[in-house]
Symmetry: D2
């Protein structure tokens, strides 16, 4: 059957031998290293959910393949109706609530959808056969229930220069050779989430649109750790903390940690033609970028971050109760503000799904409403920082000044820590400290910047809103009401 | 047939003889007085839309009666599904876009729905027959396609006193006598929209909930201008301007003007039992308040104000173009911000409708999701002021310093005004001035305060959000992630 | 003596015969017309304050002439120290608190200072004698204690065109002829405050800076109602209300009303050379604009609007107390927020004064710190709308729905109004209604847009902040801390 | 002489033997441990500045002792004029700009000032001799140029309980015994900055005000590592990162790191009478809290965080330039917004100093204006999070996804990192990475929560603003303008 257990995945992950570096050293075993194994854990969870037939997980993370009707993991399927989009959004929310970090199959899923619509369009327009290739690849992925990461490359040269002015042409990923076997690519993707623990990675082009930029208009799938690929991991204070910890239990998000990304470098990597889904067609590169954003902003901005926010509110609420502040008006006002912000974003995301439609007629692939998806992301960008500030207020200065949980074990300090961090409440200090540590993870770490930039910085969304807004309709309404050329508003009394 | 023309309504309005005062004088004819006739015009529009069978109006403003299947004006029907709620919200948006002020049948419609559910519940619980009375009244209203205003009374005594401490018991509307015929009521409703031009007014109780407050737990329907009723109209600078104008064309919203309210005083008004829908049952008074808010906040906060906002954006966009500012980044950022704010509110309102449900099982009446309705209102309260500020920025200081359109007619000044208010553009000064006047109406008038308080001030919504938020679920998620008593989050490595 | 009574001014005002139009009609007597007389009243107040030797007024509104040491009204003097700037800011605050509208001598005062510094600079650089002309004019103004309005003209053509592309060269004020007597000017200033009731008006150039724009680089003084000048007044709902009122007492700001502006048209107006202070020197036109903004933003943004805000807070506080809401936490939070916003702006303005300096060395004229002045204005632009929203919340929906005070006099309605608008408190309804009417004036009228645009829209301030910020210093600090090339931050451990 | 070199301090620090724990282990040598030594470094800097006689440091960090006229380090002196307060604020700004963390002598300095005024008042009122004790202690501190930390204890029991209801009386620091020698105290201060590396710590009481709380009204000085004292350090991801780093150069703030705090536990610590400055006088405990906040909020909120913000803006500006985004309007708008926020706070702090005054007449000690100090803190609380968000936007996702600087050294990855993190600019990747790492320190770490809570959470400031605002004056202005009982506003026309 096409829905596999997490054991299947773990076995494959153990066999992966990607070239991964972190903090100046090579990582030999991604399933054992304390940092990279959090990625494996998150991927495993996605298999566990799909197996949870009695629970919410089974309902959300399973969907029949449109190719053969077999049940598949949601992340390896296509959105073929507004209801599918609602399921997609709900799954994103569930994943976020339970992981507190990326589910690393998310971008791959959105990449499949983007390419499914766009290769259909290319084939229709140009008589190519990209769509068949993609479907063959998808069929394989579904059959084995593989994890697929997605990587939309970016222009990394100076922004005030055109691509051809760059000091190095590799500053965005490009095709350097085409031959009978396939293509050879050079370049890098900065900031890809969790690819080193995925079976495959789908690469999408940055929006190379102009004549002369054909080499950059490229999309393909590449297996984990293909020759020529190097993963250089992010390294943050949170990485160090996890490396040094004796037990995950000391940490803010014990099992799943931070969204772990790496730079992935392609140094003359060979891709066979059957895994190439775009090669030189600049006209469609821009469409891929737009459509990917269309689906990804709904999920990443509008669902996932709502899940994170719910955890923050829950933690702040616990602290409020531990301290005996349940009835203090200004704290309750803050709780209300946080809930209002989250519900607002959830609504935007849901309407984006409901108002979704088939953007390439005949392709069968549905995309969320673009305006609302962008609005969801714009709202969460600001809301997330605000929720951080408010949860940080309720959580207290202890969020950034708390001793280690090890000080609670150390017999020389244990009694002091227990007494003074117990808030004089009936809750054990350990529980208070764990909730505070969880809040540290959310309000004093990587999530503010991460949320803002995930799925593109806010300015990208603003540009889309400006482009998508129906100003003509609004001008028409204003003219009618002002009585300019309009019958209704001016009865000529 | 049960959908009538605006002529039918106008004939009735001409025959109404309510006791109406404005600015110290009695108004003899509400269909002729320049201010009160704007209410008549708005009500007329609601009949015109329902007759527009080819257009959007016919689609939005007609709905079959659940009593007999006859087509009715939407405002005289009940919401019996989530789709009905969507239609209700969409109609509210349409009305707002085209009127720029209240459609004065809106509160009455929401009052019918509130009472339909609650009288059903009362009859079920207590064996009363309120629901049958209400349906008989509704049947009459539908048959004649009458306009019905709604009035939720308020406690007008000091807020730091209980009702029984007030210096005057009439400071909220109350029953002063019961007899065979019916009841006698005393008191007032401050700020009721457009009642003096409605065929009927339904009165809802303020939330009298405590023992001893039975007299205040009262609901009934009363015909226009019943003996003992006095309407004392609002009087604002905009009223004066309309009184003084030679033609509606000089004004910011020529045909429909401002939301016109009045205080309505009940001085020993007699109500027959067949029009009484609540009388002393304090337990249900609070439910009526909550349910009314539940439906009204979705429409008034989430739909209507979005329509107003679209007009503001449209007008600001016209000015931007007249001035040649189309490509100026900071102005386009402002346009984007306004669109984002409105789409956000629209999404909240839509999800409130979609997530609507039958709150009294068996009643058949659907209400929007309460949390989202409140969130919609909270968002628009702040958003509206922000849109006012931004539209005011783009519209320019001229919004508050512009000469009269009469100065454009006066031969001694015409040439100057034409030249200097034409912005050196090809648009005639008259058009620029009319759009600017429209912006004055929106950004330098009654709408900021009106939007904030309509459907209750923001604090009322905050209290509801606090009450409705599922903090237990969020605490559970936080505990799971922090590894407190939870299996998933703590693998015990 | 050089400080005159308000009677002196009133006598002159009665003798003025400017060509003033409002709402399509000529105004014959500006001291009698209900709207224009509010300007006369405000000017009168400035004389009364300077005579109030025992009180705050005398301390704030008197200053010795630097020309002859005679005491003068502050508005006819120059700022020659940081202390003078503090006095100027404090006077602006006092005026605003007591007028609730413009003191119409404010712009003229700032124009004198701007020209004093810049004509000094021109004479020094070019050997002209503009400064002597200006001082002669100032001496006359001081001797007679005259009121002087100021008018900075603006480009009124399309913003995407250069001046020479405009369809009409008069779209900014310009010199059309020079001769032995002086110059002839054509054009208009839109939105000048109160000029029709001032003895003189000083015209400043818009920032004509480019070669070919010399005709627009012009500054001069012109007496009230000079031949060829026409004033076309603003006309708003508030104008109409005042026209219709039987007594000022019915109005929101009884004595002083709204900031009254007019468009002033110059149709071939002749100005003798001795009143010309700039004529063709484009290099200095930009400096005049900048310096005027430098002083005016401190006062208009940072002082005046703080005074307005204090009145709003005071009125909201009264309503809070009338309603018995003194101890309600969320209302007190709102009070706190309003106070915080105002104190913030006051601080910016004060520091602008304290950090003021002589920008043209040797001129003796001090200007506020430019960065802080712009920051003050930026803050108040947003803060004012926020205070409007909050005061409007506390004031209640009655702000926009209240009956007229005449309904309180009308025997047919009096009792009802007294009862229901008395809030069940011991405060008479009349007092509650007057305070509510005052809040209407502030929160439902012209002040939001007016505050935003007065002294230039916010974007103008943003541009200045961007230009004035010392980014080099901040980059240096960042590099030092990051250990880039810096000794201190990197001990090379 | 009373200004010593940093070597003097370092020698003493090496000799300190406090009982310090971090992450479950005892720290033997605070001058060597990679985390605790950052505190030593910051303290050393304060000595270096005072020695920098040619530079800004010497000007800002020296001040003559009021006891004997000897030059002292600013942190060991009293503020005896508004100019002193300005110097104090400027020194705080300078320290923050150069350290990017606490200068750990700051709270001690403010504690000296607070006690100097309050002991003077107590002696005057009660004939005690606290002031002489304090001055003797200060004389000693000045003579040796010692570092003094400050610790205001807090109630750590449930907030919905009174102190006597707490499950443990030690939940705030208290006197458990008085004898001939002095007092014995029990309890803890959570979150004291850097005390383990200070020569002395001054303890201030929490605001025990009620009868029965006398034991908690206690203030004293205690030398580093007195018997019975245990310091349990904060432990955050940043601590771990520093522990693991091979060189400070890999870190975001290489030399000075994070604000390092510890919980300090007093387990039956004996304090001789000559170091006791308050003991049982509840009436004055509240005054101490208020006065300490009065001076500390000006510096900590209004100066220090402005310095931090300047570093953030500088770093963001560098990234903007590296990327070639200098002319992009929306980025420049963000720069402008950040500068505006900081200048606003700076102004509030400066006016707090300028409007400072002697609050206890005759004491000679000046305190900043309380309202403005609180307003400064309120503004920075929100502004800091906003600046974090904006600097994080400009800095890019790399802030949270960047590889280690070690990956730049590793020959297997060096070339890749150099190429792809060089932005195609002429700036070496190392410099870009260091600036990005600096931004990580500021936008993805401890500073948001720290800034909000330092000097008390925002609600504490709001309460003060509410208490300090002159509502009576504002009500008077409103009444005058509304024409209620006022002559001026109502000419009785």
């Amino acid at each position: 059957m096409a829905v596999k257990t997490s054991e299947h995945y773990l076995r494959r992950a153990r066999a992966m031998k990607p070239r991964v570096y972190m903090n100046g050293k090579r990582i030999e075993n991604i399933t054992e290293h304390p940092v990279t194994r959090t990625v494996v854990e998150a991927n495993k969870a996605s298999y566990e959910w799909a197996m949870d037939l009695q629970g919410e997980g089974g309902r959300l993370f399973r969907r029949p393949s449109h190719l053969n009707g077999e049940p598949c993991n949601l992340y390896n399927t296509l959105n073929r109706s507004a209801d599918d989009l609602l399921q997609r959004a709900a799954a994103g929310l569930y994943a976020a609530e339970h992981l507190g970090t990326c589910i690393y199959r998310c971008v791959g899923c959105d990449a499949f959808n983007t390419l499914a619509a766009t290769t259909f369009e290319m084939d229709r327009d140009m008589g190519t056969s990209y769509n068949a290739r993609l479907m063959a690849f998808l069929r394989h992925v579904q059959a084995e229930d593989l994890t697929v990461a997605g990587a939309m490359t970016e222009p990394r040269g100076r922004r005030d220069q055109k691509m051809e002015q760059w000091i190095d042409p590799d500053l965005s990923l490009r095709v350097v050779e085409k031959n009978d076997y396939g293509i050879v690519v050079n370049g890098a993707k900065i900031n890809i989430s969790g690819a080193y623990a995925s079976d495959w990675t789908i690469v999408l082009p940055s929006g190379a649109r102009r004549p002369g930029e054909e080499a950059y208009a490229v999309s393909f799938a590449v297996p984990n750790g293909e020759e020529g690929m190097t993963y250089i991991c992010q390294y943050t204070p949170y990485s160090a903390e996890r490396e040094l910890a004796e037990s995950d239990r000391e940490l803010g998000n014990p099992r799943f940690g931070q969204r772990e990304t790496s730079m992935v470098v392609f140094d003359n990597v060979r891709i066979p033609w059957e895994r190439v889904f775009l090669c030189g067609e600049t006209k469609y590169a821009g469409k891929i970028v737009t459509r990917f954003a269309q689906v990804h902003r709904m999920v990443c901005g509008g669902s996932c971050k709502v899940g994170f926010g719910k955890v923050m509110i829950g933690a702040a609420r616990l602290i409020q109760e531990f301290k005996g502040l349940d009835k203090v008006p200004h704290v309750n006002e803050q709780m209300t503000e946080m809930v209002t912000l989250l519900e607002t974003v959830r609504a935007c995301s849901k309407v984006a799904a409901i108002e979704g439609r088939e953007v390439v007629p005949g392709s069968g692939i549905h995309f969320p409403d673009d305006l609302l998806g962008n609005v969801a992301k714009l709202n969460i960008g600001n809301a997330f920082w605000r929720i951080m500030a408010l949860a940080g207020d309720i959580g207290g200065g202890l969020i950034v000044t708390m001793p280690s949980l090890k000080d609670l074990k150390n017999p020389e300090t244990r009694e002091y820590v227990e007494k003074y961090l117990g808030f004089g409440s009936e809750t054990p200090a350990e529980e208070i400290m764990k909730v505070t540590k969880l809040l540290q993870n959310w309000t004093a770490g990587l999530h503010g910047v991460g949320t803002w930039h995930g799925a593109g910085p806010l300015q990208a969304q603003k540009i889309m809103v400006q482009r998508l807004a129906d100003f003509e309709e609004m001008k028409r309404l204003a003219k009618e009401m002002a009585g300019i050329g309009g019958r209704k508003a001016d009865p000529g009394r």
